[in-house]
Symmetry: D2
Subunit: 341 residues, 4 copies
Amino acid sequence: MIYFLSDYSLGAHPQVLKALEESNFEHTDGYGHDHFSDECEALIRKMIGKEDAKVYFFVGGTQANVITITSMLRPYEGVITPRTGHIYVHETGGIEMHGNRVFAAETDDGKLTPAAIEKMMLLHEDEHTVIPRAVSITNPTENGGVYRLEELEELRKCCDKNGLYLYMDGARLGTALTWPGTNVTIRDIARLCDAFYIGGTKLGALFGEAMVLCNPEFDRDFRYIMKRGGGHLAKGRLISVQMKALLEGEENSLYFEIAKRENEKAIRISTEITKLGYKLWLPHETNQVFVIVDNKKIEELQKNFMFYVWTPFDETSSVIRLVANWNTKDEEIDALLEALK
Amino acid sequence: MIYFLSDYSLGAHPQVLKALEESNFEHTDGYGHDHFSDECEALIRKMIGKEDAKVYFFVGGTQANVITITSMLRPYEGVITPRTGHIYVHETGGIEMHGNRVFAAETDDGKLTPAAIEKMMLLHEDEHTVIPRAVSITNPTENGGVYRLEELEELRKCCDKNGLYLYMDGARLGTALTWPGTNVTIRDIARLCDAFYIGGTKLGALFGEAMVLCNPEFDRDFRYIMKRGGGHLAKGRLISVQMKALLEGEENSLYFEIAKRENEKAIRISTEITKLGYKLWLPHETNQVFVIVDNKKIEELQKNFMFYVWTPFDETSSVIRLVANWNTKDEEIDALLEALK
Amino acid sequence: MIYFLSDYSLGAHPQVLKALEESNFEHTDGYGHDHFSDECEALIRKMIGKEDAKVYFFVGGTQANVITITSMLRPYEGVITPRTGHIYVHETGGIEMHGNRVFAAETDDGKLTPAAIEKMMLLHEDEHTVIPRAVSITNPTENGGVYRLEELEELRKCCDKNGLYLYMDGARLGTALTWPGTNVTIRDIARLCDAFYIGGTKLGALFGEAMVLCNPEFDRDFRYIMKRGGGHLAKGRLISVQMKALLEGEENSLYFEIAKRENEKAIRISTEITKLGYKLWLPHETNQVFVIVDNKKIEELQKNFMFYVWTPFDETSSVIRLVANWNTKDEEIDALLEALK
Amino acid sequence: MIYFLSDYSLGAHPQVLKALEESNFEHTDGYGHDHFSDECEALIRKMIGKEDAKVYFFVGGTQANVITITSMLRPYEGVITPRTGHIYVHETGGIEMHGNRVFAAETDDGKLTPAAIEKMMLLHEDEHTVIPRAVSITNPTENGGVYRLEELEELRKCCDKNGLYLYMDGARLGTALTWPGTNVTIRDIARLCDAFYIGGTKLGALFGEAMVLCNPEFDRDFRYIMKRGGGHLAKGRLISVQMKALLEGEENSLYFEIAKRENEKAIRISTEITKLGYKLWLPHETNQVFVIVDNKKIEELQKNFMFYVWTPFDETSSVIRLVANWNTKDEEIDALLEALK
């Protein structure tokens, strides 16, 4: 069985595993009070050009999103996200568990626009209504789309106008930052967002996401908030050891290398699949490719390949999602293309 | 200043006040453990033709909705309501306070349809997604519309098919049941809903709503759930004394008399306003009339009349809401019509 | 059946009912946006000598406590109360519903001491532990005890030292303020507490408690917090109309008159019962009298009198609670004393 | 610096790391839907002699406790634990985050007794009070104590009598099961508890705890509950791969070998320290040793050794905690003993 199912279907990049092994016998304090975490924080601060940023390490994306976003909200406040957003669709109501509302805004392609935000703002009237207080976007989006700098600048303006915090779910951030067409740097993101995370799980780590609090306002008792939400790992350094191994070298880091590789493999898939006559559901960006395939063909493919059937397209065909991971091999793509012929 | 603002801008019907006075010096146990509450429960059971129904008394509608609906849900479950629904729009996230999601379904006129429910059901995939488990409708809707029997039957079928409970917010239930065009009885509602409430606050009580649990499944520790949610009144009988005064006599009760009167006054408003050349925003039903009025005219009206400007209609006009209450007088309507000329 | 069960077993003082009747036909905005509420706030500000205090009106004590206390806490913070405190014992986990902890501190008689607070503070170490952030006391306590000025001053000092807010549940506040032995005025309470409420339900109102936020810090979006917690009444003025009727005249107000009367009747009970040879469980203060009675005698009494059997005392006797209400009559006490002979 | 700080201050046992490496390049589905998790479940079922038990894998103990315990409770219910219990003392109110109460019961040594449970049960009267519904014990306790079979049997009886579920936090379960004086097997635990977990983090894993639901009642939508609480790891197999490596071989497994080793090293510490004239705070059991040391000596030790100062003992001395981990070496103990001379 060949996996195009997700970017978390296999273990870690060997260099990440090596870093874990090398630090294995060292003793440190637990829960992120260790020199690896301090060093990784320093590394990230330098990388984003923000010396007062705070970095916290989460095991996974759902925890990172839920705990950080709700830490931005008072109980009667909510967060706006596209109706395709992970916090609305795929976190089983984690935001609501903390008592806050998710406002699901309209979107065509998975991106949030100022117009969609403004429309949700109308829901706020007075004390009888939830106050939208934060905006959560995913970059790249759940459909693989990359926000352009002008789009992020407009979102920031809209947030400032409406008293909203801007949060970015960066589960696959590396693939957005290294996408050939992008004009956004991680420094732009740190400048425009109140908080965002650099996702490791889908880019070569066993697990782990580095949450960057750009707005010092949110660094109030954040460790308490993490702990209460089940967001601390006893051997907390396990995450920073991995993230450090990934991020060291900044532009030349393993993280960007893996991201580029994932993008390149996905480009090969989308390019060659198109040549075979298949149509893409959405213009392809980053390491997820959404292709329209005949339902019978899908059944045939499922004998040898693992992938998600994303959504029905019409009566006879559906959209499938093909994801390139850090170790996707050309032979695997060859086999897929052969099967698709 | 003449009030068409709401049906809760003044006190209680004199007969309701009288009932409070007459029972004032009697001693009873607190928190609803009293003979008035028992008698009122018996009265409602008879009225709805359901001897095993349980009746609980709430001070107001938001509490009634939030506590009862969330009592139907496990933590990872949610409730579907039209995007105009009170629990989505005007309860400041009370459902989310209990950790549950409100799914805001599309609606044209404030009514929920099986098609809109089915669309929300698609959001449920597996353990990563919130399970829709209840449907909440308001009857009459927030826009005044009355559900017809065939609509309720279809909603029930849709709920059964999808494993959903059906809840009805009856803040103005009397006006729906006595609306000239209705074909729905309170027995139909008790047969089709898992729970609903008979609203008193907007139909002549000082305050109070009688929650009817038709589905015995929800009568598990309901008093605990009420108490935890702040839903018990120390002198609990105050609500049942009022509801009893309103409901005694069933079809000939004060409740239905008030409801009919509210509808009649509203009919007079909508009929004569239309004759004056004004257009209604929606076909008029029950005691709320939504009229499109020029913005300048609105400003003028506001000098002498209280009403809500509901929503902008176009660049020069808006929708205003005119509500008839239990004591709306013809002279007040005369004055309004005169001012609208 | 003669009731010494509670101070909420009957309706309202006739003057309170009269105030409701007199305002019944007047129209106002809902949810506390009305002139009665403004006037009652002004009255209370004058009475407590604090022009910047904010006053909000709640239907009952549990809501008042839960919503106000949790509004003082961040999610990982908790409130310290004596183990006999209403929020720990008799609110079905309302504080926990909002996600906060109640720390149950040791107490002999129902009063909280600085020493007991200091002991609970030791539970706070670091991010793994809940931070105590508020102290909640009831005055008079659930056992009827009245805090003396020096005790309140010491509690305030202890709170300041430990970064704790001080909240007072004043369900029966009037009886504490008018207790013969007291040296505390309502101005002292407003000076020493961050928030407290003047309870109406147990002192002649149908229902209603006036929450006084002395610390302006807590007046941030308080209306939203109330609404979310189900704490707004549609016809909000019903509470302020009653509280105004009770509080007008300050020291000479109906409120203090009722409080004094409740105390006097209780004093008669405790004095004469002692003369009959019965022993009090605790030194008697305010309108609750706790008496040790033989279990057989209790059974006999229960045929004609309603009261709580509070707690077993020894193998053959129990503590019963006798409460004087705003309408307790000497004939009722006579009957009780006769039965106790 | 030599670490006796905790059993989570270093990485994983080499065999555990090896298992992660060996499975690293294999692709599987995420979130625990993989053959490693199935195999580990089968292994544990066999080990505990309960074919219908369900096993779920958590990253850490706080998540495991909070999510599982709250899944046993309805919103108005609470859990009883000793006042030293992890869920009361060291989880920053995680249980309360889910809206439930933790009842802190009295304990002398960290163990819970039927008498202490019965005392807490008295708090439950009626709808105004939280219902205790579960009991949570830690074995070994936070003070290192091991429950004996007769103690567990008595607790189970008490739970059955009072309608309570019995939950065991097994963060260091291996050290309890292999403690020389124990008469409890893992089969006893599975027979007596409704749920318990086999802790990996403190016994040689990088991270991970295997939650065993012995009572099939709790396997309702447990995956949803885990997800909502942030309790799923994307590469879920990482935990089962480790737990499988630890548990394979049952009595002869690596898990028991590590546990025995931790106990042995701790026995060496407690024995030789006593010979040096130091006094233990509590009779020593399992891998935590609590010793009373002069405060000046503690300062001196802190230059070269890491450990927790647990609690003040008297004015001049304190209790320190010395923990043996899976890799504690005799040289390290030698150095400690030398320093203590």
